[in-house]
Subunit: 213 residues, 2 copies
DNA sequence: CTTCGCTTGTGAATACTTTCACAAGCGTGC
DNA sequence: GCACGCTTGTGAAAGTATTCACAAGCGAAG
């Protein structure tokens, strides 16, 4: 039965879920696909198609039950639990992520942090003690780190990612400006701020699309 | 002549460019589409197709001239110049971006920063003086901010983005965990760390794809 | 000057995503 | 219990993106 679900569908599911949680908080009971679409930048047909890939959750003529749909998407995305996250590299970006309260609120708890800088090792930052990178294998095992965030300089990133994969981490979120691939069978996603800026640069450099053309 | 260029193509062009700049530094003169593909996670056919959208830059039998192709892609992406960037919200993430040296090295200079916190206003962080958010219109004009980074709490983000657009900013990179749309004709990209983590959570929650299935 | 190895550029084919459009169905009101 | 307004679920159509596969062409070697 299981179809391959595209990345963009998963991304949209996250957005739907975020909106559903808001609605849940506001005690709204029902929501239609077009309401979901309006605030997530999708179309109503897309919302329905996305959801239909996993089952039939709505009531014709009424819409979707907010509580139930939220719970369903949480299940689909694996968000009915808290994930244990480790951060490698407690520099500017790694440090900012360590203290990013939204992560914990949304189900990702930072349980370990690593660095090579002796000035940082041993200190606790936002309640997490920074361990030496050398101990990464042991700490990943002991703390049961499931998802790792790589926030090292680019030249260290590939090596670190491979060590994390070998140590048993299940997925990696990479902030180093380098393409990480061929890391075992561990999925890697890269967040690259400058890449995003370059995309905007491209748009700004095009002759602005005028109506009359 | 101008075709619509997809987002993914632009993204890949950025990756090619990054690799070409490395090669340029190492004095490599020529590169083939398959070499470009290998380190960027694309296929060689895709590299050639991407480039062919803009013209014919290679030499059959030899590959692409590194210097010339780098310059061409820089032109396409609008990266032969430095862009003036403003950051709104000097919290953990905004502050980290302020000091992110890679941005400047790759052509994005932070020329303005804003916050509402009186403790931060007036202080210079990484050489940039923090202005009160109230002055955003004036400072954007005076400093000629072309691209703005929104790193405010989510409930302030939409408002801030609209003010930036009205003040003449040409593009927005949003770090607030909220979908920003309907901001005039100004392109907006959102970087959402938790969204990426949720995507990984989905992958980790699927029954691992085995060969024998 | 010709052959050979290699690589580009690109139509055609395939795969994937999104949009369309409408029958099916739910619940309210009469 | 019937009709009506509204919304889902979904095949089919349209639109995009990627991969295939090969002729065209470059340069080196002989």
């Amino acid at each position: 039965m299981s179809v391959r679900i595209s990345d963009s569908t998963v991304r949209r599911l996250s957005l739907y879920l975020r909106m559903l949680r808001d609605l849940r908080e506001q005690q709204v009971a029902l929501v239609s696909s077009s309401q979901l679409a309006a605030r997530t930048g999708a179309t109503s047909a897309q919302v329905r198609k996305d959801l239909s890939l996993f089952g039939s959750f709505g009531k014709r003529g009424r819409g979707y039950d907010v509580d139930q749909l939220a719970a369903t998407i949480e299940d689909i995305l694996g968000l009915s639990r808290t994930w244990r996250v480790g951060i490698v590299g407690v520099g500017k970006i790694g440090g900012a992520l360590l203290g990013y309260a939204d992560m914990l609120r949304r189900g990702f708890e930072v349980v370990a942090a690593f660095d090579t800088d002796p000035a940082k090792i041993g200190r606790a930052i936002f309640g997490v003690r920074v361990a030496p990178l050398a101990d990464v294998e042991r700490v990943v095992r002991e703390e049961d780190v499931e998802i790792a965030i790589v926030a090292t300089p680019p030249d260290a990133a590939h090596d670190v990612a491979q060590r994390l994969a070998d140590a048993g981490v299940g997925a990696i979120l990479n902030f180093a400006p380098i393409e990480l691939h061929g890391i075992d069978g561990v999925p890697v996603r890269t967040v690259d701020v400058v890449l995003e800026l370059e995309g905007l640069s491209y748009l700004l450099s095009r002759p602005p699309a005028r109506e009359t053309d």
